[in-house]
Symmetry: C2
Subunit: 156 residues, 2 copies
Amino acid sequence: MYNHSPNGYTCPICLGVKGVESNETLICKSDIVFKDDLVTAFIGSFFIEGNHGSVIIVPNEHFENIYDLPNKYAHRIAEIAQKAARAVRKTYPSDGITILQNNESDANQHAFHYHLHVFPRYKSDRFFEQLLKTQKSTPEERQQYADKVKKELSTA
Amino acid sequence: MYNHSPNGYTCPICLGVKGVESNETLICKSDIVFKDDLVTAFIGSFFIEGNHGSVIIVPNEHFENIYDLPNKYAHRIAEIAQKAARAVRKTYPSDGITILQNNESDANQHAFHYHLHVFPRYKSDRFFEQLLKTQKSTPEERQQYADKVKKELSTA
């Protein structure tokens, strides 16, 4: 419903979920902080100035957006979003959490596979001003965030 | 966990859920588009220029933020968010949907009762620039949006 992915779209998120590391996906195996039979969570590649290290949660099966997402995935994503929010809040540590999920091109959805962002927030950050001015990070830059979230999720 | 509501806080969202109309809550009965034993959905009072008529979904029981929200509420909120997203997309109609949920003062949470926003998005809107510059709407301005969402949710 209301899909925008072009014909023959190679989904970068499906590749990442499968553990493929290539030029077509920005997701590395070392970015992944959680995976079960329904969902995968990883540190997002694009960093916002002042709010580095967001966690992205996706269904393992391909659905483009919220309109078509089956409840079993939506429920599990909500559960992992809470765990990721607690982990980021405690270990980064951040001063708050913003959950964001965009649907369709005109709502700033760029990767056409449902994904929910768990962003760290900080006092006096300029988050919403900076949100669309992202910079591609390196796997090394993401590692410290992945380590913190992974460790916390494994003990929570 | 990580709560910011002051001692003796009168929760405006709890009042709205109970159907109280007073100066302490901005929610009117006519704003409510859905209610069951777990959650309530209503048209938000604060309008963003270019993106009027967001749907807000809340748990009927008081929890300040995502950290403490029990799964039964999180699951039902996810289900109603999807239905509200489809209804807004189709009936306003909008060009996309953004889901947003802020936790704690430093993440721009103002009402200290968990609430998830379902925003209509439009081509070339300046949504993230406008997001924090909201204006209080009148019940009459909200009515057209409430009517559309309510009608669609009752037939979906």
